[in-house]
Symmetry: C2
Subunit: 663 residues, 2 copies
């Protein structure tokens, strides 16, 4: 159904009015982008986007991503006008106030129809790449009848200028994600002023160089917008639709300037805009015809959904598809037998290798995993279980060669997880979490099940030296809300960590894994499954307890060695393996008190050992504890020389303990 | 002097031999890249690069950046062959072992001639952009006689695929940095295999779209390399020189494959390579003719330096130029009068505004500052003191509109600082340190004086919500070695922090500044200059001391308010403003003990207040202290509502203190 402009323009102006009025009421926000893109967005939502407001979680809906998330009033307007249950007009009135579902930036955990949280520029588009990968992959696995949708993005100059844009469109172009269409709000204005202040790039040529189809249109000409969208839909390549727009379109005195970007227009300009747009309705009121035209536009999507339900009912794979989309693991998924095998035949292994072995089991049992690495496949040990590459020629593969694109990889994984039906994991060196930290944070904020396989987790990586040796990384990631950081000590803990990570439906996990081999510390069944408590007593004091070691990962066996030495001298020592501080902090007080009893620190000395910064370990060792760590940059040398140099030997640690005990 | 191929090829083969032998001896490293680029690098260094090994700190030398830092044996070979004092052959023999100057990746703080630390991919090229900006800027300020050099880069596919590449070349293209030339090692191999596994991009077209001049050559054809370099030198645009190479060239069985990328070739293949290259010399020995040809090649640069010294001796600006290049502040630089003015007329100001005011003074007194922002000029308050834009038409300007390129900005600032002659500062929102964290880490590792102006430093930014509100950021940056993180409480502390930051010749500073207004807490002279101790007692207990508040930035005035309430009830309370934990930790024990006396925690309660994660504050409050903070993501609402919601009010805090005191 194509309405004529006399009916369509008021529908677009409804977006403009809601946007300028809500920003004015909040006295904060970004009217320029929603007003500039109102026309293109109205055409997109009413004529192209496949969605049904009555069933926002319909698996085969098109995904819409407002990558220019500061223009949040655009999506709030579109959702309300289309008839989604929320936001109500009352929600919109409360835009940007405490408790409103209409937050400053759109949050996926607040509103149906908001597919991902956007605001940090560039990441929305990059997550959309992951959604488009997910769509093609699930299509390859489940067929056209169940999976056949598009991914739409509205992006601004900021999204295109950020470095992640290069990684994201490189991946999308390489994988020929023709179902992905990006509407670029080409308004030539940034916060600082004209885009010519900071860029001279031919964006169209750059996208074409990267394997994209590019089409341009006048973003305020309805017929031209339709032509451009039709061309984009027809292309087998991902499409950039350059919409030439006027920022703040409709505000007669301010449009086309950065003054409309990020501040309320003011009462006078809003009054002028009402006159200019022939918009008579009061703030937060909608003309009946406009509202009914908007609501009727969604019949197209509702019909598509009815047809999908019809088709789906006869699909044999439907049940499995629904399990996958619900994010439930298959009945009977278990690593128990595998772990029993490990315990019965102890091995000296790098935890990255142990992770590969666990993945061999996991990828065999879970068809929903998609692995990958940012060009460190052999180092991250991420390709396991016989999974083959996902390519433009074969989307059914389950391994992605992400290239040297850490940030793009992480954002794509967020997109896959949010699309649903997939559990993504991907690897790089732990130090390069610095390159993708913005996306890790969005995994956590968006409650996305993404597993980061971060190897080479300390000076133990050796010769590559300080640029590649994490010091502050493990602790700095532990500070991030809603993120689990796990540093397993051996193959058994590694398998347990994988099991825990896969069962977290609403939070991401970072696995910090070693390059170097580690002796197996879990050689008996007694601590089975203890990793899920975050920390557990791996060894109990034999003599009277004077010391409690708290160690992680590659330092757990060192703690055991130190404890054995102390016991020889009649000094009892517990060894606690602190696999995941966040999970430990979630345990009840009795459990925490049992491991770390609140006794006089002079009676029992707590000693943390972790080959990274000591900052923060006082939480567990208290002020008078001993913190063994590294508070400077690393160095280039073989790992064993570095552990010696930085004091990670029993010979270096024991005297410090004795000094404290006798001090 | 152009040697003929019969003399040149053995010179290039010397690079190959040293590279493969050193990697073999270390049994670790990357021979493929140095062997592949040996021919092009030999031409570059012997015929184009302006340098004098006898004076590696010559200000007008060309800058050479090995962006593909894993190929470190390339630059070690080039430095040694050219006759730099270090690395000696003994240094090279000890490649990648403890204490060797030939570290796994080239470190600027270990060797002259290594202009920057590389390894984290893409950042070398991006730092070179900063060096090229510095050159044009200093040229504009000091003239051709003193400043007239080029910036050369060798980059690999990784450097080009990383997101930061987009930001860096966008900036270079926009600023028309024609003195910048990038040799791209186009070997079509990454760690995972062929580049076709992960990319389909037309790199030449992308660079052209971004304003670059592109020229291609056969990277193993001497005449063709010369032609390409000549064309690059002649272009007024920055140039990409695509050198088609064979990775590991010279290793007859492994060349052209990823097997040569990151592992020793092995004895058999090295023997085969020696035969293939007609290289008879023993490992770590060099034929006399080869060495003398290399050493003679540097006469060109030595002559250029003699001419420069002649010219410079008659330049009136030479003394100022030398001061700038030495990194010394001008004699008499002082903010004392400005600070006295602040103390005498207290104001309620956002610290971002206070920073702008301080910059007004600083930019007037220090001609070496270059400011900028990643498209948040009006929010970061970074344009101050009447400085004008640095543009392609006027390189003398001192303000850079970096565009929406946080990572590119940070890396460019590193390049400017390392080039010398400039003190760069740049702004974005504190939360977006996540986008440029890799470069902040390299500021710290490289000991570069860069000032990060990071505003909107807490939930105090308000309505933009959780994507824009730092929680873990301040603490996570404090963990980074050799980085100062300062969170000033008012305009006086802000000025003191700027003063401290500018005086750090060998470390970077992050200033965490508020969006919201803060009352001035330093209204008298008694604490003058105390910020340099990192923490100081802003208020002493009046009644018997029972509580010590430790607060930072926007929470200091809240601590004062809480303390006043306690004093009313006869409970004495100190208030410590912890401006910079790193500087505090550097104070002597007596000073630290005076502020935080090691008394029974039940006698004196320590309370930290910071609107961010509580993780890590136990270092200062001890295990039984009270940590007021936020251990979850923020929310979208006006700032005052958020401070209330998250418990940053005296009404919320006092009962917790009383509970502890009475507990």
């Amino acid at each position: 159904m194509s309405l004529d402009p006399v009916r369509l323009l008021p529908m677009a102006n409804a977006v403009r009015a809601l946007s300028m009025d809500a920003v004015q009421a909040a006295n904060s926000g970004h009217p320029g982008m929603p007003m500039g893109m109102a026309d293109a967005a109205t055409i997109l939502w009413t004529e192209y986007l496949k969605h049904d407001p009555a069933a926002p979680d319909w698996a085969d809906r098109d995904r819409f991503v407002l990558s220019a998330g500061h223009g949040s009033m655009l999506i709030y307007s579109l959702l309300h006008l289309s008839g989604y249950a929320r936001p109500t007009m009352e929600d919109i009135r409360k835009f940007r106030t405490l408790g409103s579902l209409c937050a400053g930036h759109p949050e996926n955990f607040l509103l149906d129809g908001v597919e991902c949280t956007t605001g940090p520029l560039g990441q929305g588009l990059a997550m959309a790449v992951g959604m488009a990968i997910a769509e093609r992959h699930l299509n390859a696995q489940f067929g056209d009848a169940l999976v056949d949708h598009r991914t739409w993005v509205i992006a601004g100059d900021g999204c295109l200028m950020e470095g992640i844009n290069h990684e994201a469109i490189g991946l999308a172009g390489h994988l020929k994600l023709g179902r992905m269409n990006v509407l670029w709000d080409d308004n030539r204005i940034t916060i600082d002023g004209s885009t010519s202040l900071s860029t001279s790039e031919d964006i169209r040529a750059r996208y074409e160089a990267t394997g994209w189809h590019v089409v341009s249109c006048d973003g305020h000409d309805i017929a031209d917008i339709r032509r451009a969208l039709d061309e984009a839909v027809a292309s087998e390549r991902p499409s950039l639709i350059a919409c030439r727009t006027v920022i703040g379109k409709g505000a007669p005195n301010k449009q086309g300037t950065s003054a409309t970007h990020g501040a309320a227009l003011g009462d006078d300009e809003i009054a002028a805009a009402r006159a200019h747009l022939n918009w008579d309705a009061e703030p937060f009121e909608l003309p009946e015809q406009v509202l009914s035209d908007w609501r009727e536009s969604t019949e197209r999507g509702a019909q598509a959904r009815r047809e999908w339900l019809d088709r789906a009912s006869s699909e044999s794979k439907r049940e499995e598809f629904e399990r996958r989309m619900a994010g439930d693991l298959p009945h009977g998924f278990s690593l128990d037998d595998y772990i029993s095998g490990l315990i019965s035949e102890p091995q000296k292994l790098a935890t990255r290798k142990a992770s590969e072995m666990a993945l061999g089991e996991i990828n065999a049992q879970l068809p929903e995993t998609i692995g990958g690495s940012a060009d460190l496949t052999g180092s991250n040990n991420t390709k396991a279980g016989g999974i083959g590459p996902l390519t433009a020629d074969d989307y059914s593969g389950r391994y992605i060669y992400y290239g040297i694109r850490e940030f793009g990889m992480a954002a794509a994984m967020n997109g896959m997880a949010l699309h649903g039906g997939i559990i993504p994991y991907g690897g790089t060196f732990l130090v390069f979490t610095d390159y993708c930290r913005g996306a890790i944070r969005l995994s956590a904020l968006q409650q996305a099940r993404v597993v980061y396989v971060m190897t080479h987790d300390s000076i133990g990586l050796g010769e590559d030296g300080p640029t590649h040796q994490p010091i502050e990384h493990v602790q700095s990631l532990r500070m991030m809300p809603n993120l689990l950081v796990m540093r397993p000590a051996d193959a058994v803990e590694t398998a347990e960590c994988w099991d825990i990570a896969l069962r977290q439906k609403d939070r991401p996990t970072v696995l910090a894994l070693t390059r170097q081999n580690l002796p197996q510390v879990r050689t008996a069944d007694h601590a089975r499954g203890s990793s899920e408590k975050g920390a557990y007593r791996l060894k109990s004091a034999e003599a009277a307890r004077k010391v409690i070691f708290i160690a992680t990962g590659s330092e757990v066996h060192l703690a055991l060695e130190c404890a054995a030495r102390l016991e020889q001298d009649g000094i009892g020592a517990d060894v606690i393996s602190m696999v995941c501080t966040e999970l430990f902090d979630e345990q009840d007080a009795a459990y925490r008190e049992d491991l770390l009893p609140n006794v006089d620190p002079e009676a029992v000395l707590r000693v943390s050992i972790e080959a990274g910064t000591t900052f923060g370990w006082e939480r567990y060792t208290m002020a008078n504890g001993l913190n063994i760590g590294i508070d400077r940059f690393g160095a280039s040398a073989p790992a064993e020389d570095l552990f010696e140099k930085f004091g990670f030997t029993a010979d270096a640690i024991i005297p410090q303990i004795m000094n404290k005990l006798n001090g």
